[in-house]
Amino acid sequence: MYKRGLVQVWSLEQPEWHCRIDEGSAGLVASCWSPDGRHILNTTEFHLRITVWSLCTKSVSYIKYPKACQQGISFSRDGRYLALAERRDCKDYVSIFVCSDWQLLRHFDTDTQDLAGIEWAPNGCVLAVWDTCLEYKVLLYSLDGRQLAAYCAYEWSLGVKSVAWSPSSQFLAVGSYDGKVRILNHVTWKMLTEFAHPAAISDPRVVVYKEAEKSPRGALGRPACPSFRAAESKYEIAAVPVSLQTLKPAADRANPKIGVGLLAFSPDSYFLATRNDNVPNAVWVWDMQKLRLFVVLEQLGPVRSFQWDPQRPRLAICSGGSKVYLWSPAGCVSVQVPGEGDFQVLSLCWHVTGASLALLSKDHFCLCFLETEDEADGAIGQLGAHT
């Protein structure tokens, strides 16, 4: 509850256990769990400091000067280390803490103008640091603070928009405002290849799925279903060459809708899913073994988010409607979320085992269970006052 500066914690196993943390006048801007699940990191208002509350010892630690940026905190995958971006005296620093006892391990400055984000590689040994979008700069630091490499693709134009590591730590995908994704390899930290996102697709080996409505028609030719029930939809394969819907961004406003805004690798690193913000209805899936475009999925509405199943190469996409879309190399399907009224799926989140999926709307969420016969069952629940 950000406005009240309160964090409430409940236990899933012991319903009676309950915890309340009050930041009081310090205010609360962000809150997140530590990977061991025993500490909560609260960022106070104006990013004054980060308070680390421990649930084991009820002790408090403070971290000063955290940086207010897109992705300033990153935990390594094995949960051992926390990398935090800081800014002191108009210079950017990165501090690495050991999560077990919150000791400062390394503190080093970075060669950036205005650090925009940091992310650990899944193997926990390399930290990727990228600069503000006014300058294209990606820096790679080793765990002990040495700079391993710096990469800059071009100057004088808007730079990095999004960054993603492949789960095997072999590739670093950098999506930029020029609509291209550049893949760096982990041995030389040089570009392996770049993927462009043109609005017209002409390669005949690419499969393009287009979502189409399949509303049942009544005798008079009008759709038979009443208006408050959303029409069913299905995927059709469109013949190449295909041209996708583009959006012309306003050039004089900040944060224009161009560039590659969303990037995600599949868990076996075989596929990379991307979204180019000027073609907002399409999801592009690239084959990482052959380093070329594999599949393009075009939805009827703008894609809000997508996430890969943590266990297998299965992608779930939501576009703000009441359907969730699943793609896997075997095919794709569009599933209507059951429920009364209109359930707008705004974001989604897979369970670690990949057997269930949580679909979140504004104040409801729906748990989707995926059975082996590919049937999706849903149960509707009410979200608490958080989120």
């Binding site: 009050d22 106070t44 004054l48 009820k58 108009c90």
Partner: protein
């Protein structure tokens, strides 16, 4: 030769024609003169001769001639005189000699003239030729000059254009540079501004931080029901230098592990690739080595090197173990040898391609022979197969004929339709079964109808009893309104049962249909005891297409009833049916019914 001028005799005006001028005058004039001079010579010979010397001036002409001749170097025409004043006698011998001499000279002169004339002609034609050549060359020179000027002009224009474009390019580059400079300067300006603002902001933040920290806010606290154990089950430890050192150690260990793992991967990959390369090399060598036995044209170089490589091979094989090390020289050796082999193989393949194309051009004889042989073999095989099949067909036909002909009349009648006998018998059995079942069903149906009639009668009786009981109640009650009491009673009676039903049904929301149907027969049995089903409900339920309703619908159908119960009660029953059936139908078609929305209210109260 100078100009010859003969003394002009007043009488001989024709002599003037002889004036020969040996200047370099045009040949035509000369020719003309010569011709003119030669023509009148033949015509005017006599007149000329007679003009010079007549009967009267013989002595004079002789003396004149003598003078002329002596001046020309000829001997004198007179005899030698003894004295001065005596008349000199003409020396005829001298005269004849002089004449002969003159004739010889004349002939020579004529020859020379001819030669000169021919030479003159030649020179004239040469001159003409040269002049024409000169004129042509002059023309060519003119044209080429003009072309050159034209090209120069074009070149100049292009250079102009080029210069312009260069200029434009330079301008653009300058502009770009300028813009970049502007951007850079602005960037520095902004950075400076930003830094200033950041410093201000930091100061404010510090102040705010101090204020926040100083305020001993009792509210900043954490309430926890009880402490949660650590994730790894161990106890927390104090932060000391030792722990710091331990953390450093762990960090370095992690890094080292990662590097070692990667190095192992890379070494494995390297080893595999080297193996592959070595295999490739061996195969290439083996491919190339049999070629040295066949005579290949223009392949001396390749075979030479091939042989040398084969000789190299045993030496190299022994050094394979060294290749597991990856020092510079060994790496280079391997790649170089692979490249060499590959080049040889490539050249060999190209030669083969050429040979093949040549063979194609020459003819397809070889190919034909081979293919024809195969073709013949194939056809033989197929013919054999066909013969075998034919024999089989013949034998089968014979057997069939035997079967058909060797039976008597009795056997034929018996064997009529022998194939279908079994099936016919089976059919008969099934028919008999079916007939029995039919009979049984009829019996049951009759019994059911009788039971239904009995039930109807009983119900009627019961209804009458109840009506009478109700009337009694009515008469007993004086304060209540008639309708309300009935409604309340009925509703309470029904809602009680319905609530129970709702609870049992909804506490397990995701049940399979058969469970719900178990609930509904109970429901129906209760209701049929209390109330007969109205035709409206049965109609309604029949129109519903939900499959899960089957059991409940069938139960309803078993009790068709014509008596209309209380209207309110009927409506309640409607509501109940919908409630009972709703969770079973999990698609949205229940939304078609408008009054389910009212029921949802009832449902939600029932949820825990």
């Amino acid at each position: 030769m100078g100009d010859w001028m003969t003394v002009t005799d007043p009488e001989s005006k024709n002599i003037s024609q002889y004036t020969s001028e040996t200047k370099m005058s045009p040949s035509s004039l000369y020719l003309q003169k010569v011709l003119c001079s030669s023509i009148p010579l033949s015509k005017n010979v006599h007149s000329f001769f007679s003009a010079f010397c007549t009967e009267e001036n013989i002595e004079q002409s002789i003396s004149y001639l003598d003078q002329e001749l002596t001046t020309f170097g000829f001997p004198s025409l007179y005899e030698e005189s003894k004295g001065k004043e005596t008349k000199r006698e003409l020396n005829i011998v001298a005269v004849l000699n002089c004449m002969n001499e003159l004739l010889i000279r004349q002939r020579k002169n004529l020859l020379a003239q001819e030669n000169v004339e021919t030479q003159n002609l030649k020179l004239g034609s040469d001159m003409d030729h040269l002049q024409s050549c000169y004129a042509k060359l002059k023309e060519q020179l003119e044209t080429s000059r003009r072309e050159m000027i034209g090209l120069q002009e074009r070149d100049r224009q292009l250079q102009c254009k080029n210069r312009n474009l260069h200029q434009l390019l330079k301008n653009e580059k300058d502009e770009v540079q300028k813009l970049q400079n502007i951007i850079a300067s602005r960037a520095t300006q902004y950075n400076h501004d930003m830094k200033r603002k950041e410093r201000e902001y930091n100061k404010l933040k510090e102040r705010l931080h101090q204020l926040v920290m100083n305020k001993k806010d009792k509210r900043i606290a954490m309430e926890v029901l009880n402490y949660v154990g650590r994730a790894d089950g161990k106890r927390g430890s104090w932060r000391t230098d030792k722990s710091e050192a331990r953390n450093e150690d762990e960090m370095y260990k992690i890094l080292l592990n990662d590097y070692e793992y990667r190095q192992k991967q890379i070494l494995m990959e390297n080893a595999e690739l080297k193996k592959v390369l070595q295999q490739m090399k061996k195969e290439m060598i083996s491919l190339l080595s049999p070629q040295k036995q066949k005579p290949i044209e223009k392949a001396d170089d390749s075979t030479g090197t091939g042989i040398s490589d084969v000789e190299e091979d045993p030496g190299e094989l022994s050094r394979e173990s060294i290749w597991d090390l990856s020092c510079e020289t060994v790496r280079e050796q391997l790649t170089n040898s692979i490249r060499k082999q590959w080049r040889i193989l490539k050249s060999h393949v190209e030669k083969l391609d050429n040979q093949v194309s040549k063979v194609h051009l020459e003819g397809f004889n070889d190919e034909d022979v081979i293919s024809r042989q195969d073709h013949e073999e194939e056809t033989e095989k197929l013919e054999l197969e066909i013969q075998q099949c034919k024999e089989m067909i013949k034998t089968q036909q014979q057997l069939l004929q035997q079967l058909a002909t060797t039976c008597d009349d009795d056997t034929t009648s018996l064997l009529q339709d022998c194939y279908l006998l079994e099936e016919k018998e089976r059919l008969k059995e099934e028919w008999s079964l079916f007939k029995e079942q039919k009979k049984n069903f009829e019996k049951e149906r009759r019994s059911f109808t009788e039971a239904a009639i009995r039930l109807g009668l009983e119900r009627k009786a019961f209804e009458e009893e109840r009506a009478s009981w109700l009337k009694q109640q009515f008469l007993n009650m004086t304060t209540f309104d008639h309708q309300n009491s009935e409604n309340v009673r009925l509703f309470s009676a029904f809602s009680g049962s319905s609530d129970r039903d709702n609870l049992t049904v909804h506490s397990r929301p995701r049940q399979k249909p058969y469970r719900v149907s178990n609930g509904s027969p109970i429901c129906t049995s209760k209701l049929t005891k209390s109330l007969p089903a109205s035709p409206s409900t049965s109609d309604f339920c029949q129109t519903r297409s939900c499959v899960s309703e089957h059991s409940s619908i069938s139960v309803l159908n078993m009790t068709p009833e014509e008596t209309r119960p209380n209207q309110v009660g009927g409506e309640c029953a409607n509501q109940k049916w919908s409630v009972a059936s709703r969770p079973a139908s999990q698609d949205g078609c229940c939304s078609e019914c408008s009054w389910t929305s009212t029921n949802s209210h009832v449902e939600k109260d029932g949820l825990p």
